[in-house]
């Protein structure tokens, strides 16, 4: 518990516990519980899985099995900017494979990883449903369409710049 408080703050952890209390009454609600955890903490670390196991009585092995089964759940923290590059068929045919290579090279990470400064995480999405704008990527909910590898890198650079100037403004 201590560790969890330290990681996420007492308020957030307690808020989650309150929701867990409600959700566990519904039979078969493990996926909903984990969705809640993913949303609240941005990932589902071992300590959270342990908490869920203790509160629901479901063995930790089973919870770990579920967390690692579904692509929406992650056991590492996401970056401040979450890049989902669409690798659906429509985007792939229009060249999102090359964009992925370029982004990996530019950020120095593989898909499913987060940059060491915690700024960007890169995930390959299956289909964002915006096939008409293919190839697309989504960063924190914002959709960027009809991309080329160079443009995708430019978007990343623009975000880096904005983030720096924002941080500078906050310091002042």
């Amino acid at each position: 518990m201590e560790q969890l408080y330290e990681l996420f703050g007492i308020d957030r952890v307690e808020e989650f516990r309150a929701k867990l209390e409600e959700l566990k009454k519904v039979p078969g609600s493990m996926i909903s519980i984990l969705n809640e955890a993913q949303e609240m903490f941005g990932y589902i670390p071992f300590q959270v899985q342990e908490l869920i196991s203790k509160e629901t009585g479901v063995p930790l092995t089973e919870i770990f099995g579920i967390v690692t089964f579904y692509s929406r759940f992650s056991i590492i923290p996401a970056g401040k900017y979450k890049i989902s590059l669409c690798l659906g068929t429509a985007c792939y045919v229009r060249g999102s494979g090359q964009i992925l290579e370029k982004l990996k090279e530019n950020l120095g990470i593989n898909e499913g990883e987060t940059t060491s400064d915690g700024m960007f995480s890169l995930e390959a999405a299956r289909c964002l449903g915006a096939c008409a704008l293919a190839p697309v990527m989504m960063i924190n909910g914002e959709v960027y369409g009809r991309l080329t590898p160079d443009e995708a890198v430019k978007v990343i650079q623009r975000i880096k710049k904005q983030d720096l100037s924002q941080a500078a403004a906050e310091v002042e």
Binding site: P27, G28, S29, I31, I66, S71, A90, R94, G129, A134
Partner: protein, 596 residues
């Protein structure tokens, strides 16, 4: 309140991604500024289908179609069109404008060959207002079955209609319902599969976003037919807009007494809850889906027992997909005879497709079964962009197959697609042109399958991995002639022995590309060439001496210093050192570098 004019702004995912929120906001504020907010209503609708031209706005009563809208255009449209009654033709969809008149949308090539049954209300109603749905006839069919039909009659009507499951397999819906109806055990469940996992498919999402009540009504009718009082919609958490609209629809339907206890004053009760998926393609398999609804790993189990006998919580359960349910009210209202008059002998009704890839008009379409692929791609879709040649169309998602040009005149129905080595699937249509490498496409789908294989049975877990390794070998220039045989042998074994639908159809991408594009595999293996110029390892870059001006840009940008030469003299690429990254090809301002 009555309005003299309605501004319908598309709120589907495609248009929202291209900025329709800002367009809608601009209309609201400009209309208010002009003092028209009591006369003109702005409504967010579901998908119109023509996503390529988004954001899309349709203004009624004229029914004119504005495409590629920007907030900047809005003041002029409010001033000219809404205030003075003159549509601003320069912003209209070009094809609807002729010198004399503005043509209705139905007459454009995109819509002319379409027929909207499942999408009947998409783009017409505000999906967040149940009264608009009711005005278009929603819940009429439910009223009809509850007050005038027995469950047996409903099932009979469904059987006569010939409706087959729209999720992929094409199992007759009426039969499925009959099995569940005959079970004595209670309670029974109705499950809606809204876990659209195919990459490149957004049909179900568009129905849920554009007309959620059609799904709820279909589920309630199914509940009455099989004797279930409880419905579950299993939907991807990645579809936030669809989830929100379903939640609103369920709430409103309960308030109106169309869900919940004693519907229409009868003793039939039915309610619906939403359960979230968390991203796993295999959950499209019904037994895997049920495990996921119950909060477990989404692994399939052997059938029988079928879910109609032992499904959710081991009770009789029917599982149909979103589009199937959306068809049900239309069948009940218009009759089985009407529905079965549409389509081909064994595939009745219409089918919704997400048309994407290398095609001019990407979007969401609905056509009668029996339409040819050529009509869809070249008439509705407007052909291939940039004057390129059509190569293949991929249908049915990762479980489907690629269909080449010589079969473009095949009519679409469940059975003809299977005979071509593809399948209906949920309805993704991805068009590929001459620049697409079919071996690479097969590899793409296998990567997907390997990633999504649940790991329960060996043929799928190990077999697909081995197939992917062979394809990797071929695309990186190390293929051997025996590899094709190895692929075929593995593919047939997996098809015969895998546990579930995902595994059994996993090799289809390879089998269908081998069937129609064997020469491309052979070129990769024997000549070590990628005819489409996609597989990096098989390309070689050379500088055409005549075209090279000797600027040296390529040499300066080459990451491995493989290019040398003197300024103003033709440069040369050292093939031994070249890593085939393609940088020089991109940088050359004179087009003097060719890849082969």
């Amino acid at each position: 309140m009555l309005y003299r004019s309605h501004v319908m702004v598309c709120g589907g995912t495609g248009c929202t991604s291209s900025g329709s929120d800002n367009v809608a906001a601009a209309f609201v504020s400009e209309i208010k500024k002009a003092g028209l907010d009591k006369e003109v209503a702005v409504i967010r609708t579901g998908c119109f289908g023509l996503c390529e031209l988004g954001p899309v706005v349709v203004i009624y009563p004229e029914g004119v179609f504005y495409s590629k809208m920007k907030p900047e255009y809005v003041p002029e449209i409010v001033e000219e069109h809404l205030l003075k009654g003159r549509p601003v033709t320069k912003y209209l969809f070009g094809e609807t404008v002729s010198e004399k008149e503005i043509k209705p949308l139905e007459e454009t090539t995109f819509y002319k060959k379409q027929m909207r049954v499942a999408l009947r209300n998409c783009g017409i109603i505000d999906p967040e207002d149940i009264e608009e749905a009711i005005a278009m006839g929603a819940y009429e069919a439910l009223g009809k079955v509850l007050t005038t039909m027995t469950p047996e009659q409903v099932i009979d009507e469904m059987k006569k209609s010939g409706l087959r499951g729209r999720g992929g397999g094409g199992f007759p819906t009426g039969l499925k319902w009959e099995f569940a109806h005959k079970q004595k055990e209670t309670p029974k469940y109705v499950v809606c599969n809204a876990d659209e996992g195919d990459p490149g498919a957004f049909m179900d999402r568009s129905i849920m976003e554009g007309d959620p009540h059609s799904v709820l009504e279909g589920m309630a009718i199914a509940g009455y037919a099989i004797g279930a009082n409880h419905g579950v919609i299993y939907v991807r958490a990645e579809y936030p807009l669809a989830v929100k609209r379903l939640q609103i629809a369920i709430k409103q339907a309960r308030e109106y007494g169309l869900l919940g206890g004693n519907i229409f004053g009868t003793d039939f009760s039915f309610d619906v809850e939403i359960r979230f998926g968390a991203g796993a393609f295999v959950c499209g398999e019904e037994t895997a889906l049920l495990n996921s609804v119950m909060g477990r790993r989404g692994e399939p189990r052997p059938r029988p027992p079928y879910p109609a006998v032992k499904g959710l919580w081991n009770k009789p359960t029917i599982i149909n997909n979103v589009e199937t349910f959306a068809n049900v009210p239309a069948i009940i209202s218009n009759g089985a005879a009407w529905f079965s008059s549409i389509g081909t002998e064994k595939s009745k009704g219409t089918k919704v497709f997400a048309l994407t890839g290398k095609v001019n008009r990407t979007g969401l379409i609905e056509v009668p079964m029996g339409t040819t692929l050529r009509d869809i791609i070249f008439d509705i879709g407007g052909g291939i962009p940039d004057g390129k040649r059509f190569k293949a169309v991929q249908i049915g998602g990762p479980s489907g197959g690629c269909i080449p040009e010589e079969h473009l005149d095949t009519v679409i129905d469940y059975d003809s697609l299977i005979s071509l080595g593809a399948m209906m699937g949920s309805g993704g249509l991805v068009v590929m042109d001459e620049d697409t490498c079919m071996v690479n496409v097969a590899k793409f789908f296998l990567e997907f399958i390997v990633d999504e294989s649940c790991g329960k049975c060996a043929p799928c877990r190990i077999g697909t991995k081995r197939m992917l390794e062979i394809l990797d070998k071929i695309t990186s220039g190390k293929g051997e002639p025996e590899d094709i045989d190895r692929l075929e042998k593995l593919a047939t074994t997996i098809k015969d022995t895998a546990l579930c639908g995902l595994g059994q159809t996993a090799p289809n991408a390879v089998l269908s590309t081998l069937r129609y594009f064997r020469n491309e595999y052979e070129a990769h293996i024997n000549q070590k060439k990628c005819p489409a110029g996609v597989c990096q390892a098989l390309l070689s870059y050379t500088i055409i001496a005549d075209k090279c001006r000797g600027c040296g840009l390529c040499a300066r940008n080459c990451p491995v210093n493989a290019i040398s030469g003197q300024l103003k003299q033709p440069f040369v690429i050292n093939q031994e050192a070249c890593i085939k990254c393609g940088t020089c090809f991109e940088k050359c301002p004179f087009g003097a570098i060719v890849k082969q």
